[in-house]
Symmetry: C2
Subunit: 319 residues, 2 copies
């Protein structure tokens, strides 16, 4: 059994590779939900959806998020309301694109949550609807909300930072509101404790894996199983493969390299998978107390993804 700590796009691609190497039913992904947001009254779970759509082969390959063959009629129609909303209203947020087909997922999630179902239950149902055999678990059933402090502006929501500001504004702090009261779900805790290997996917260490680690007991559990925990660096050649991980690490005082990633993960993981382009930093990675595993980790083909997954499992002592 393999358990993967997952954010969005990078984790989804890693999981897709992993599915080629081990049976999907042996894989559990514990997914960040601190990016979740409510828009138009709809509960949106971007990382869960990205993983679901990717593993179902339904993701739009160009965008990397949302469904393929998507249309945008609802969003286009929403523009009509922008001129009439009052000055301080944030209704009609046309900056946050939701495709017409994608909406159905949010409709279902919202309706089920309103009926009293937990996010875990609903996530199971949605992944079943998409035919997944990998088990997807939200990190918690409570609401945790990443808040980002933007220099000169103040605190905004993660989606405002990520989508509305195109993650190109300087950040001075990140916090996870609600994380103190939230708990890793029982299923997720069991998946951590019972796994043969635990993989920290190539996701943003601060805002994708960070919320998971902010839940009580997670870092303790991971460090207790440190020999079986392997992280895959989301930073390659000093740059994030996707998203703002590099800039955000720099702005928040971490070196935006595999060495910076290693310092963040050394207490909880025994190995860090880095790309050959960073092979010259392997010694510095190992100086943090992590073993450096050098494997191509830019997942541009299914073969590279599968090889990366295989090497990652090997580093964790399985396969």
């Amino acid at each position: 059994m393999i358990t993967v700590l997952a954010g969005g796009v990078g984790a989804a691609r890693f999981l897709r590779g992993l599915m080629q190497v081990v049976p999907p039913t042996d894989i559990t992904a514990i997914v960040n939900t601190a990016d979740d947001t409510v828009m138009h009254g709809l509960h949106i779970s971007p990382d869960l959806d990205t993983v679901t759509y990717t593993l179902a082969g339904a993701i739009d390959p160009e965008r990397g998020w949302g469904l393929r063959d998507e249309s945008w009629r609802a969003m286009e129609a929403l523009a009509r309301f922008v001129p009439v909303r009052p000055p301080r209203s944030s209704a009609a947020p046309t900056w946050f694109n939701l495709g017409d087909q994608d909406l159905a997922t949010h409709f279902y999630r919202t309706a089920r949550l309103a009926e009293g179902a937990s996010l875990s239950e609903v996530t199971g149902e949605i992944s079943h609807a998409f035919g997944l055999h990998v088990r997807l678990l939200p990190m918690c059933d409570e609401r945790v909300e990443t808040r980002v402090t933007v220099v000169g502006e103040g605190e905004i929501s993660f989606q405002e930072y990520f989508v509305q500001r195109h993650h190109d504004v300087p950040v001075s702090a990140v916090r996870f509101v609600g994380a103190d009261e939230a708990v890793l779900t029982g299923s997720a805790a069991r998946a951590l404790m019972g796994a043969d290997a635990i993989v920290i996917a190539p996701s943003n260490p601060l805002v994708s894996i960070g919320p998971l680690r902010a839940l009580a007991g997670v870092d303790t559990a991971l460090s207790a199983r440190r020999q079986s925990v392997v992280a895959v660096s989301p930073i390659v050649g000093g740059a994030a493969l996707k998203g703002p991980a590099d800039r955000m690490m720099l702005e928040l005082g971490h070196e935006p390299t595999v060495v910076g990633v290693a310092r963040l993960y050394a207490p909880i993981a025994s190995s860090l998978v880095i790309d050959p382009v960073d092979a010259h930093l392997a010694d510095q990675v190992e100086a943090t107390g992590m073993r450096a595993i050098v494997v191509p980790s830019v997942m541009t083909t299914p073969e590279i993804s599968a090889a990366l997954a295989r090497a990652t499992l090997r580093a964790a002592g399985v396969a």
Copy 2:
């Protein structure tokens, strides 16, 4: 100033005729909101939307509801979740069609209500977005919910009756949950008291006009102004022009004719507009204490609608 008590399709068509006869800015419509429902977490106001879309020329002319040139991608995608929802769940209600463009209206309404705006405010904003000059007012800002008792089944929501059961199941009772605590909005009350004429649109007397009359003080206000109140019969030749008014009247103990309509409205309106096909019932209408005005009232052309509006206003003593 003309104030119209309105349901959905019939009222919308009457208002469209009225707009040809008096300046739209002189017209206020007080619209039934007891059909409102929450689906997928979205606040849906069917009668308000039907009136808005009709007066904006944006209604689908064939269906009579929803927007023209509509697409249904979100609804189609929702079908994916039907097989995975638990037995007692009512998530993924694919029987209630919401077009992709139409969704934007519900998104905006839901977001604004969540921000603390009243339904009156949001309705004003939405009708402004659609370029309306007629003033649309929801009957109240509180939630009132029509519940329909279906013989042999029990009580269901109005939309379950109207849409899911295609309003072809026998009804034994109707009630308006919340009507006791709800109040006609201040704007609506002023529009009733200050109007030169008050028109009860050709809407279902029981479930469209009924909720309005269930609000405290409305019948009293109307009867005090009875000489200026004219109703247009939604029943022509013993049949409803649209919807289940005829069967529902019969099932709830009212004669499904213009005479039955007259008995319902005689306490609050001085005249009833009836179609020539019902001219032979004019005496029976007048026996209820209402004046019968015989005018073609099947609004198949703009000319008929305008003539109907003109005759209605004349009956109220204006124009």
